[in-house]
């Protein structure tokens, strides 16, 4: 997946979790959980969605690398 595919995937997954959220207002380095008020269950669902959409298995220990948009693009573009 390229960076643009990953962003689209993240946006689609987040739209299902936080329908009212406006992703365009979230900065690259901002913690998505803070910016979009995601709780533990929301974030787990986000990880599930990213994993299913990208085909990449994301271990729990790696969650902190997916807290920001720039981090998750880097992580999933491996």
């Amino acid at each position: 997946m390229n960076a643009s595919d990953i962003r689209t995937l993240a946006a689609n997954v987040l739209a299902g979790i936080a329908p009212e959220a406006d992703l365009s207002t979230v900065g690259e380095q901002e913690d998505l959980r803070e910016a979009l008020d995601l709780d533990s269950m929301d974030f787990l669902n986000f990880i599930i969605g990213l994993g299913q959409g990208s085909g990449i298995s994301i271990p729990e220990a790696d969650y902190p690398r997916l807290f920001t948009l720039s981090g998750l693009v880097k992580y999933l573009a491996r």
């Binding site: 299902g16 979790i17 959980r33 269950m41 299913q52």
Partner: protein, 393 residues
């Protein structure tokens, strides 16, 4: 003929509005079926009817009706069931002892001929257009449960795809909900003499166990710390029944079942605490999927009436971004609320050494009309004990 009436979906509800009938006049319904969608300040609620028979005289849509108002009539409750079993057991030609035994046999046969389907599964099946016939049920006594329906479609489509779950009206009015919360909490503070306790619990054993569990599993099968806290609280309540039940008409009525009302914060403000039924008897994996389903429905619509009426205690967990502790307000007519703060890494003394440990603060607010702090302390101690042996949860 039995009246099916507007249920009281919590202490704070006075009126409701039927926005959709899921049945037609003349339809045969079975106990536990979702028959209507009622709009309340908690959003649109799927209302179950616990009668068997033929439903008729449906109340008009979009009209405010008080709690207790007749929504429909159900004909032949009980009678129809007996009639339908009659052909299966010809009593006239049987010797007396067999006749005596036949109601049981016939009753069992009736249960078998109609596939058992949970309300959630039935609803989802209708939404997805999945035929229930021939589906293998994996629930208790072979009932078709939600998971069986989900298995027939792309896994987890509903948690990641927007709009995959149509609902007649999913939203709630934040102003109305605030009013309802104010009314219930005001009543609680006026009527219930609260006492408060809190303890700090070493979450190390639970966290180590949880990390090992999650390491071996895909995200969909992973557990959240909240599930361990929930199960520990539910199991501890088995030992302290004085905190699990209802205070009504100047008397306390303990509940034999432990239905944990799980506090769910709603986006845009507001709070609802629907029941996780029999939480003490569910496995951690089952609790996790029940919790996922409940949170999803609390936010997107589709909570069931029983989930709002049944909680025997409330548990609130603030999650990984919440405050360190919470002192709750009891939701009447319940008599206690248990609160868990965020798990934090702090210095802690283990075997005489100061070491960093993950800690969680658990609190209890309980009703002094029913129990004292001594008993409340036993509950917190039992939660602590349960969390030190996570493999037994």
């Amino acid at each position: 003929m039995t009246d099916f009436t507007m249920p009281a979906l919590g202490a704070d509800m006075e009126t409701g509005k039927v926005v959709q009938w899921c049945v037609k006049p003349g339809d045969t319904i079975h106990s536990g079926d979702v028959v209507a969608v009622v709009e309340t300040h908690k959003g649109a609620i799927d209302v179950e009817c616990f009668l068997d028979g033929v439903i008729d005289n449906l109340a008009p849509l979009d009209t405010d009706l008080p709690v207790g108002a007749v929504l429909a009539t159900v004909r032949g409750a009980g009678v129809a069931a007996v009639a339908s079993t009659a052909p299966a057991a010809p009593p006239a030609v049987q010797p007396v002892p067999t006749v005596a035994a036949s109601p049981t046999i016939a009753g069992g046969a009736t249960g078998v001929t109609r596939a058992k389907v949970s309300p959630a599964a039935r609803r989802r099946a209708v939404e997805l257009g999945v035929a229930l016939d021939g589906l293998h049920g994996s629930g208790a006594d072979g009932a078709v449960i939600l998971a069986d329906i989900e298995r027939t479609v792309a896994p987890l489509a509903h948690t990641v795809k927007p709009g995959a779950r149509p609902s007649p009206k999913t939203g709630f009015d934040p102003a109305q909900m605030r009013q309802a919360i104010a009314a219930a909490m005001g009543r609680s503070k006026r009527e219930i003499p609260h006492y408060y306790l809190s303890s700090t619990i070493d979450f190390g054993a639970a966290q180590t166990w949880l990390e090992a569990w999650n390491r071996q599993r895909e995200p969909i099968d992973r557990l959240l710390p909240a599930v361990l806290l929930l199960k520990a609280a539910a199991k501890a309540l088995e030992e302290v029944p004085q905190l699990n039940g209802f205070y009504e008409n100047d008397a306390y009525r303990p509940s034999p079942a432990i239905h944990v009302g799980w506090a769910v914060a709603l986006r845009g403000g507001g709070l609802v605490a629907p029941a996780l039924h029999d939480a003490n008897h569910k496995t951690l994996a089952d609790l996790m999927s029940a919790l996922r389903d409940l949170v999803q429905r609390a936010r997107a619509g589709g909570l069931r009436s029983s989930e709002l009426m049944d909680p025997t205690i409330t548990v609130t967990s603030l999650g990984d971004r919440g405050a360190e502790s919470v002192l709750g307000v009891i939701y009447p007519p319940q008599v206690a609320i248990i609160g868990f703060g965020r798990v934090v890494l702090r210095p802690w003394v283990v075997d005489g050494q100061v070491v960093p440990r993950p800690l969680v603060t658990v609190s209890l607010a309980a009703d002094h009309r029913v129990s004292d702090g001594h008993l409340g302390g036993q509950l917190l101690a039992a939660i602590d004990t349960a969390l030190q042996s996570p493999d037994h949860l």
